[in-house]
Amino acid sequence: MDIFAGLINGFSIALTGTNILFCFLGAVIGTAIGVLPGLGPAATIALLLPLTYVIGSPVTAIIMMAGIYYGAMYGGSTTSILLNLPGEAASVVTCIDGYQMARKGRAGAALGIAAIGSFIAGTVAVVGLTFFAPPLAEFALDFGPPEYFALTTLGLLLAVTLSGGSIIKGLIILFVGLLLAMVGLDPISGKIRFTFGSIVLQGGFDFVTLAMGVFGLGEILYNLESTLKTEIVTTKLGKVFPTLKDWADSKWAIFRGSVIGFFIGIIPGGGAVISSLASYAIEKKYSKHPEEFGHGAIQGVAGPESANNAASSSSFIPLLTLGIPGNAAIAMIFAALMIQGITPGPFLVAEHPDVFWGVIASMYIGNAMLLVLNLPMVGLWVQMLRVPYGILAPIIVLFTTIGVYSVQNQVFDIYSMLFFAALGYGMRKLNFDPAPLPLAFVLGPMVERSLRQSLLISGGDLTIFVTRPISGTLIAVFVLLIVGQTAFFIKRKMGGKKPPAT
């Protein structure tokens, strides 16, 4: 099936009544959680994972999950601009100039350019995804166990190094995630690992309990500590459609943000946060008036908001073509696919073209829906901030508890979710970034299987990883990354400066 035939097939699937409804639901939920500070897209998708058991069709479930992810990028800018409070991590940088614009009475223009930039970048990235993903999937068909081992380990390492937090803590979480994935029956030897005599643990931890615990409840517990109250918004929005001058000032920022976001989104660990930061830095560096940045420069809103949207769409490329989730939210979508009995990877295009093309086509539709949802209806979303956290928190707890119980109808899952909630809370308290945990958990079995299969194939010859061209290249990048990071760390220490973070 060529790209155009696939896309037409995708639209015929995405444009059915049920799929349009779930795409809309995903866009609405995504915008809502993007607006609400304290609940990110990864947490929300985690909370909704049990719903995928109920939604019969895999394509419908993934259309909704994808809508939540890229919808959150649209909604995230709203609180950044109006309250100087990022709705989610990728919108942190939007606070700098967005809030300044709002203080100068230009909140409407900032919100408008954020939504238009998001729409353009989202669409550009989906076009890139349409044409880039199928050839990459075809290329990945040649991958064997050594290539998969090299790719997954490099992906995990990139996720740790690019997350922006402490590398030591990131690596610790990575190993913890790998170990959690090993609990239960070893699929190759049949041995029982880390169960301590528990029969229920023999099946291993369920990803839903881990994701809902660490991301859903862990975030709730951490937010419960906070004494911060959301102020009721009094900022006057004004006209949400930008003027011609606003458009002229921001069109290149949108274009650059789209390109930067698209490429950073493909790299595991890259994602929306880094792309928005990179876009802001580039806009400031190449601006004719860098002094305006921080005082309400519209490019400071247009660039990062475009970049985070493009990255959220392009991060589907490694998932759909290689079966490698690049960030926590995509790891949740990976799990949703697995729940539906679909293994993401190079065979997805050939074996499940309905899922592959249906989801891609739905992204075009979802982006158009989000533009409508965010431009004229921004005032409505702002009203959502009036919902007190005291009501929202117990509702989320009820939702997660019955949600996790519904997966296997056993209370053990609730307890294991609470264990992960405590773990997630502790991680946040000690400044650990929890993002590598679900990645390591979902990629753990693939890492182990490919490592052991490679050694079996080669008869214990470790050079199998470096003598094959693709795995050799990936291992070289892996080694360069470790050497580079170590050299950077030592140089900083020798220079007498503090390390970035421990």
Binding site: I172, I188, K191, Y425, L455
Partner: protein, 150 residues
């Protein structure tokens, strides 16, 4: 914060060593030709043991305390809510879904949020009804039956 980080670093290292021993003795590493179930856990254990020590060394060399969190934080609210959730999980099977959910939201609103009784009851009843309607009525999720209906 540094004190807790030091403790976590030590636990990480010791945990890594324990995993190495467990993987070596119980799971078995196998050979490089035919690796066994303990190989990757052993490597992860080695990684954790080393990272714990590196973290500890970095903490030793970092002078001064962390800035800490500027905003005032209340530590007991998450602890109490976690305890409430554990009790809720137990009560769900013991007394049934509807009764335990209602009691859980009442306890949450009174203990965590310190709300007045009228608001507490409205939120509890509406919350329980909404969950029942969504999961039981719409999504047909089987729930633990009520203790009085068994």
């Amino acid at each position: 914060m540094k004190k807790y980080e030091r403790i976590t670093a030590i636990i990480t290292s010791l945990g890594g060593v324990w995993i190495m021993v467990y993987a070596w003795r119980t799971l078995k590493l196998g050979s490089i030709h035919i690796p066994d179930a303990g190989l990757l856990p052993f490597l992860c254990g080695v990684g954790l043991a080393i990272l714990g020590i590196v973290w500890l060394l970095v903490l030793q060399q970092t002078k001064g305390e962390d800035k800490g969190v500027e905003e005032k934080r209340i530590w007991y609210r998450p602890v109490i809510s976690l305890i409430l959730m554990v009790i809720y999980g137990w009560a769900m099977e013991s007394v049934g879904y509807i009764t335990s959910t209602l009691l859980f939201v009442i306890a949450w609103q009174k203990v965590i949020e310190r709300e007045k009784w009228l608001k507490t009851m409205i939120i509890s009843l509406l919350g329980t009804f909404a969950m029942y309607a969504l999961f039981v009525y719409l999504l047909k999720v089987p729930i633990p039956p009520e203790f009085f209906a068994r």
